[in-house]
Symmetry: C2
Subunit: 230 residues, 2 copies
DNA sequence: CCAAAAGTGTTCCACCTACACCCATGG
DNA sequence: CCATGGGTGTAGGTGGAACACTTTTGG
């Protein structure tokens, strides 16, 4: 290459998790090394010479948090000079979703502690990680409206009210329960199972599941998933 | 940093241009250096130590092609090991739109030749640039439907038929002229000027202009631009 | 029987869709 | 007067939005 560039390449992940009827959370680690030692930060780290970017994210997540991801996509690359006080580092950020209870989080290399933080209780973050998080939240909101990614945050089988609650939580707006249910069911991509769940009080709910095969075949025929909110 | 990583960081740009009533084109350079010497490629190059990623794109574009961009946004980062036969290079790709006639393209450093290629006449490209281009085309198609970016491809003042033609060209589908015009005008973000244009034959057309100020203020009130196609 | 959450239909209105003819100019 | 592209209105249908009561369970 024509000049001796010295820029490092890292990956960072914003991983969202959702627990039935609670707020949406993201996964953070407490840094065990300088800079920003003892600050909370997004899991991530330098890319190894011979691994793909996606592998790097998954490896770092596994190493630092023990979490394996259900849905992962690239978010954005951050590269302003000065965003890391040591070298110049370009961070390629990823956006991930995990199903609840699919993880036993554990701290490890470079991380003193790992924790899920509800979105309304996010602490100060290292580097420009607040900016990355902000973009991830926007992406999640936007995608929820035109791709059925919400299912990657729910258990494989879920009561309809979980889906409703997920949407109203993330979009921070109310949705008419009847219209929402009608709309989702009209697409035919969510199926009733014959199971019934009882969580706490009230009438027990039927469990539903997302039919990805059906969804994929509809997509091929030009189907377009869309949820609007009033 | 904890290990001696040797990955280079580059930027590449997919720049779309549109000339009244013609096909959509992208800007390519003919490489003057190895590897892929004499192949056509997207303009781009290594990021300098102290410049932002956006600056890097704009600098490379100016150096290699003489083009200054009207609209620029980050597209995606490509980083598979082996995508560059020399070192490992992570390329952060950008997506740009320019107004026609706003450029005098000229070859320069590292580029033997610069040329606009209509989308249906794209030659073989260096590296994984076909993949980047593919993604850029998808992004353009998708964005056209929910953001008024088409205006950045047209002259400041344009006949309505240019806008129509732009949409039908990019979306590769027909749009009902009356409905399209009604829809766009109903938003109130496109204004009639009192100018009349005569291009070649037929009845002369009124010229319109996009009112960005109006658009921005509508956005603040929750307005949502959207074009559907049948 | 009370509390809590699940389940369910209908009406109205806005907007999208389909569709074809006349107009202004240049040659 | 012919060719070329510009400009325009209406009717019917679809789908989104608004809206409240009944059902099932546990305590």
């Amino acid at each position: 290459m024509s000049y001796n560039q010295n820029i490092k390449v890292a990956v960072d992940a914003v991983v969202f998790g959702y627990e039935s009827k609670k707020n949406l959370s993201i996964l953070l680690i407490k840094r065990g090394v300088e800079p920003y030692k003892n600050s909370w930060a997004l899991p991530g780290g330098l890319v190894l010479e011979n691994e793909s970017l996606e592998n790097a994210v998954q490896r770092e997540l596994l190493e630092e948090t023990g979490v394996q991801i259900d849905y992962l996509e690239q978010l954005y690359s951050f590269g302003k000079p000065g965003r890391d006080p040591r070298n110049r580092v370009v961070s390629i950020s990823y956006f991930g979703l995990v199903r609840p209870y699919h993880f036993t989080i554990k701290a490890d290399t470079d991380a003193d502690e790992v924790k899920w933080f509800p979105l309304d209780e996010i602490p100060d973050l290292a580097f420009d990680h607040h900016e990355i998080l902000k973009m991830a939240k926007e992406r999640l909101k936007a995608k929820l409206l035109y791709q059925p990614i919400g299912f990657d945050l729910l258990s494989k089988e879920f009561p309809f009210s979980d889906l409703e609650h997920l949407y109203t939580t993330i979009l921070e707006s109310n949705i008419d329960r009847r219209n929402f249910r009608k709309k989702i069911l009209s697409y035919g991509i969510v199926e009733e199972t014959n199971k019934i769940a009882q969580f706490g009080t009230g009438r027990p709910a039927k469990l539903f599941k997302f039919n990805k095969t059906k969804y994929d075949s509809l997509i091929k025929k030009g189907f377009h998933f869309e949820i609007k909110f009033a």
